[in-house]
């Protein structure tokens, strides 16, 4: 924040003359001066604001990569172009980075010289008393002495006492010309204002560096755990894992987590149909072992209460139902038995299910369908879920047999069944209808003797996000410093005060001391006048016994 309000016509003229002689070095210097100008920083700030806007208009990969993919698919002409312009990665794009890097360079170029300057100013004494204090924006005059014939303090005494009083008010003081006819004191306060200003800007830089540290050395991972299952913090155990650019998987701390129980509470207030059935609480009971061999601990995980295992944080981000299914194949062997994680798609937890059974013989089997936590069916209609809780769980499945395509080694989405090489056994549209499993119908035989499906139980699962961000704490500290700096820079007033004492005689011929004092603010200071009044009160309390007369000055006195 260079104060550029005072015009500097001289410099401008000189650079005008130098224009033809600008060499590469001169160009660089010119560019640097342009960049570190306050108005450049201002324009960059506004540009940053504008550049951030597309980040809210288009889906972002940092937010939701799937949304970006489907957006590009939905807009085949515009999509790839937008992608080329990095509009799906706004906050890591070249142009966005360019703006904030320039801004921070400008900031450094502005703040560093100011810090040096301020350091020098702090070490040097307050500046000399100006010859004409009366020119200062705030100027007052009092006459000391003359009350009941009391002697006025000598100018030196007056200045010394004034200096001591100013020091008490938080000014740093420097007495000048003691012993002369017009001794004075120069005082300055609020040096911390500029310190706050510099601290704020440097701390912002700290925030940026902390974020960068997090992006380099942190990681994010997702894991789904069904009730009764465990998870160990190793690379192989994750469903998905996004390491930072310089992250080494050996840094993972091998804690383990077991989900004992998960409970969701729903709004059961029948008088409020709009919010009836909305979740009001999610709660997971976990057993955590901090490191192999440590004592397991039971902990409770809720949405706003992450688990902290030696700096690695575990968050509860999702939940749903995992029906336990047993599939017996055409040869009578159990080809699959266990929970199947379903994906809830609405507020009543209508969840889609995909099950691939590659071990089934003679043919591999595949199932897709829905889990309905509270199935309600009306005659002639497809059953639907009426409530998110497990009141009447039911499965509606379509089944397929054939080649699941898993043997080719190509990675597949576990939530999508590719039916290209599969033959349908039954479905919603087929003549024999879908497979319907619920509390009354626990087992269904597949057509053509391909096997059978059993609906054993429904368990709950939780989706956990595991994060490690070494930049988190530094970012927090940087922010706190920035905030303190901001408050200091905005609400501390930087002022200079000068007091000069001279001897005079009042109308009655009594020798008196005239105290002239003026105040100057650095930047905006709406309380400068109030401070002048306070100083007057200060002198009054200092020399009241000797008499203090205040003079109201004409504007014409302000020479």
């Amino acid at each position: 924040m260079t104060e550029t309000r005072t015009p500097r016509p001289k410099k401008a003229q000189r650079s005008d003359v130098e224009v033809p002689a600008l060499g590469p070095l001169g160009m660089a210097r010119w560019a640097w001066r342009q960049l570190t100008k306050m108005s450049t920083a201002l324009v960059l700030l506004l540009l940053l604001a504008i550049a951030a806007v597309p980040g809210s208009l288009f889906p972002q990969r940092v937010q939701d990569p799937d949304a970006v993919t489907s957006y590009i698919e939905a807009n085949p002409t515009m999509g790839p172009w937008l992608d080329r312009l990095q509009l799906f990665d706004v906050f890591s794009s070249y142009w966005f980075s360019a703006i904030y890097l320039l801004l921070f360079i400008s900031l450094v170029g502005c703040v560093l010289p100011r810090a040096v300057q301020h350091f020098k100013a702090w070490r040097s004494k307050p500046p000399r008393t100006p010859r004409r204090i009366s020119r200062l924006p705030q100027y007052r005059k009092v006459m000391l002495g003359g009350r009941d014939g009391a002697a006025a303090p000598s100018p030196d005494d007056a200045v010394e006492q004034a200096a001591a009083a100013l020091k008490k008010r938080g000014y740093r003081v420097q007495m000048q010309d003691l012993g002369s006819a017009a001794p004075s004191v120069a005082a300055e306060r609020g040096m911390l204002k500029e310190v706050g200003n510099i601290l704020f800007h440097v701390a912002l830089l700290g925030v940026l560096v902390s974020v960068a540290i997090g992006a380099l050395f942190g990681y994010k991972g997702q894991k789904i755990i069904v009730e009764g299952e465990s998870f160990v913090n190793t690379l192989v155990d994750y469903d998905s894992f996004n390491p930072g650019t310089n992250f080494d998987p050996d840094w993972l701390n091998p804690f383990s987590v077991r989900l004992n129980n998960f409970q969701a509470t729903f709004n059961r207030d029948t008088s409020d149909p709009r919010h009836y059935g909305q979740p009001t609480d999610f709660n997971a009971d976990l057993t955590v072992t901090d490191e192999p061999g440590a004592t397991p601990q039971d902990v409770n995980l809720a949405v706003n209460k992450p688990l902290n295992v030696n700096g690695t944080k575990v968050y509860l981000v999702g939940n749903g139902y995992a029906p336990v299914i047993r599939v017996t194949d055409g040869e009578g062997n159990v080809a699959y038995e266990g929970p199947v994680v379903t994906v809830p798609s609405d507020s009543v937890y209508t969840s889609s299910l995909t099950l691939k059974v590659p071990d089934a013989r003679p043919d591999q089997l595949g199932f897709v369908g829905l889990l309905l936590p509270t199935a309600v069916s009306e005659p002639g209609e497809i059953p639907r879920s009426a409530d998110p809780a497990l009141n009447n769980p039911a499965l509606i499945l379509s089944s397929f047999y054939g080649d699941l395509g898993l043997d080719s080694g190509q990675p597949q989405n576990v939530y999508v069944l590719n039916t290209e090489n599969l033959t349908e056994l039954n479905s919603m549209t087929s003549a024999n209808g879908p497979i319907l499993l619920d509390g009354q119908h626990r087992e269904v035989q597949l057509p053509n003797g391909k096997g059978s499906v059993e609906f054993l139980d429904v368990k709950r699962y939780v989706g956990l996000d595991v994060h490690s961000d070494p930049g988190r704490i530094p970012a927090f500290i940087s922010f706190v410093l920035a905030f303190v700096g901001l408050i200091m820079s905005l609400f501390i007033a930087r002022r200079r005060a000068w007091v000069r004492a001279t001897t005079t005689e009042d109308a009655n011929g009594v020798r008196c001391t005239v105290l002239e004092y003026g105040l100057l603010a650095r930047g905006e200071d709406h309380r400068l006048g109030a401070e002048a009044e306070k100083l007057t009160a200060l002198w009054t309390s200092l020399w009241e016994d000797r008499g203090v007369r205040e003079f109201h000055l004409n504007s014409s006195d302000k020479a």
């Binding site: 550029t4 306050m38 201002l42 979740p279 999610f282 706003n304 905030f483 905006e524 003079f551 109201h552």
Partner: protein, 369 residues
Amino acid sequence: MGSNINVTLGNWSEWFMLLAAMTYLVVFVAFVWDMASHSKTLGLTERSRRGNTAEGAKELVGATAAHSGSTTAGSSSGGATRGGAGTGESVADEFRTSADGAKGVNEFEALDYKHNSRRPAARVAVTLMVIAFLLHAFAVVSRGVAADRVPWANMYEFCTTGALVVAGVYLVTLFFKDLRFVGPMVSGLVLIMLCLATIAFPTPVSPLQPALQSYWLIIHVSIAVAASGIFTITFAMAVLQLLQSRREKKLATGEDSRLGFLRAVPTSVTLENFSFRLNSVGFVFWTFTLAAGAIWADQAWGRFWGWDTKEVWTFVVWTVYAAYMHARVTRGWNGNRSAWLSIAGYLCVVFNFTVVNTLFPGLHSYSGL
């Protein structure tokens, strides 16, 4: 968290909200009335004074231009209205007393109450606004009690509580400064916010979703509401500042301005300085909102910053106001340009609240719609 919802109290709250809105409507009308009559009075004194100057006194035109609205007719008599100090003692001529000496005790003297002006309509407006505020406060508090939580968890509540804060901040500043000239805009905006809440975002009392169950809801959102309240008032002042500076320019060239009501409004410089003070408090609040949001996001979603749409816009608002703060100390950027930045910042706040909450998908979209 059990849902201890008191439906009867919730209904009472809605009735009081309507009552408050109607009272604000009357307040608005009264403020407009005041502006019209007060600026007319000022216009008449101005004209009569101009007549006086034509007859004799010479120095007054310059004085009016220099001190603008704050200079009252009293100072033209060249009198020592305040300088009684010198009368007892005979002092050297140099120390002559005068009223001018005390000038600049406070930069915002122009915003102090004048004792000689009578503005009955403004009195009615302020009194009614206090009543409206009390009704409004009851409505907001009873809604919180009815829902058994803080009353700012969805758009309706954010709007109504925000309007309450705007009215509150305004009434508190009225204690210290004569800001009655922004009354029409402030009461108008409060009215709009209440209408928006009841018409566009009506939401019955309901308990909190799991993601909102945190004490950060109290900290983060309340400071956000307070910051928005402050920005609302500075927005009003920035608009007036722009109009006023246009009028000043016209008057300086000798033209007549049609916007006569601006006679009751202080100079554009005073407006600029005062709204800068308010905006710096608002900026501190907004910075805190942003950080508190980041801390909450870190607890709830596992990252402190993820460029969610709401986060993007909070950042945009912060950046615009940061630019505003810098503009004030940059040559060529103060005055009208800084007023435009303040307006742009406020429009971003409004956009962040309305469009982002309702149309953009994002993690903040549980706002009750």
